[in-house]
Symmetry: C2
């Protein structure tokens, strides 16, 4: 029975950017879903373990999740204002990471690469602030 997990996955799919477990929980409850916070956490973890969603940490240390379109290795360009996320590819970076690691005698190299910025929608209307 994975009804709840699917519901969590669906909620994530409807979001543009990365969302925290608390966000997902709040949104689901808002739409009338009967689900507990614990279950949301568990579903998110299962989804992440299964590679169906991507996870990253905010500056505040909160885990945020996203149902990405691409199921292969990729990185993210995230708007620090609205959270809008673009999935990007960076073969040059992959190679760079491998090279740097090898040069220093490191093996089993992995890397984390995320790009943050302010998207056009958020920077265009120079609101008061």
């Amino acid at each position: 029975m994975t009804t709840r997990r699917d519901a969590v996955h669906d909620t994530l799919r409807r979001s543009e950017g990365f969302r925290s477990a608390q966000d997902v929980y709040a949104e689901m409850r808002l739409h009338g879903a009967k689900i507990g916070l614990t279950t949301v956490y568990r579903a998110l973890q299962a989804l992440a373990d299964g590679g169906q969603v991507d996870v990253l940490r905010t500056d505040e240390g909160e885990s945020v999740y996203r149902a990405c379109a691409s199921d292969t290795h990729h990185h993210h360009l995230v708007c620090r204002r609205c959270g809008r996320t673009v999935e990007v590819d960076g073969p040059a970076v992959e190679r760079w990471a491998e090279t740097v690691g090898s040069e220093h005698g490191f093996t089993e190299i992995t890397h984390t690469v995320e790009v943050f910025g302010t998207c056009s929608s958020c920077s265009a209307p120079a609101r008061t602030g």
Copy 2:
């Protein structure tokens, strides 16, 4: 009076890799330093704000700090086993991040790039396990 802050900075300098606030606190107390956990946190934040130490988040969401030799922008190659850290430079990555961001209309681009691996010391002696 920045005695405590200097003490914290010194403790960090004596470490090879990234250390958490709790680590630093424990080590200082171990060496007989009279300092409180709150002060260690404050010193670490001040040091990080001033750019004297680098900060990053572990997978568990804990903040870890390091007194890096280079005071210019750089990245880290971290041994996932022993924590040994090498400061690395990646001009190609900097350019890539800028390009990717611009292509999608993002401005004020920043990025996080960290490389993890197993260093030669840790992978060489194929111990039991």
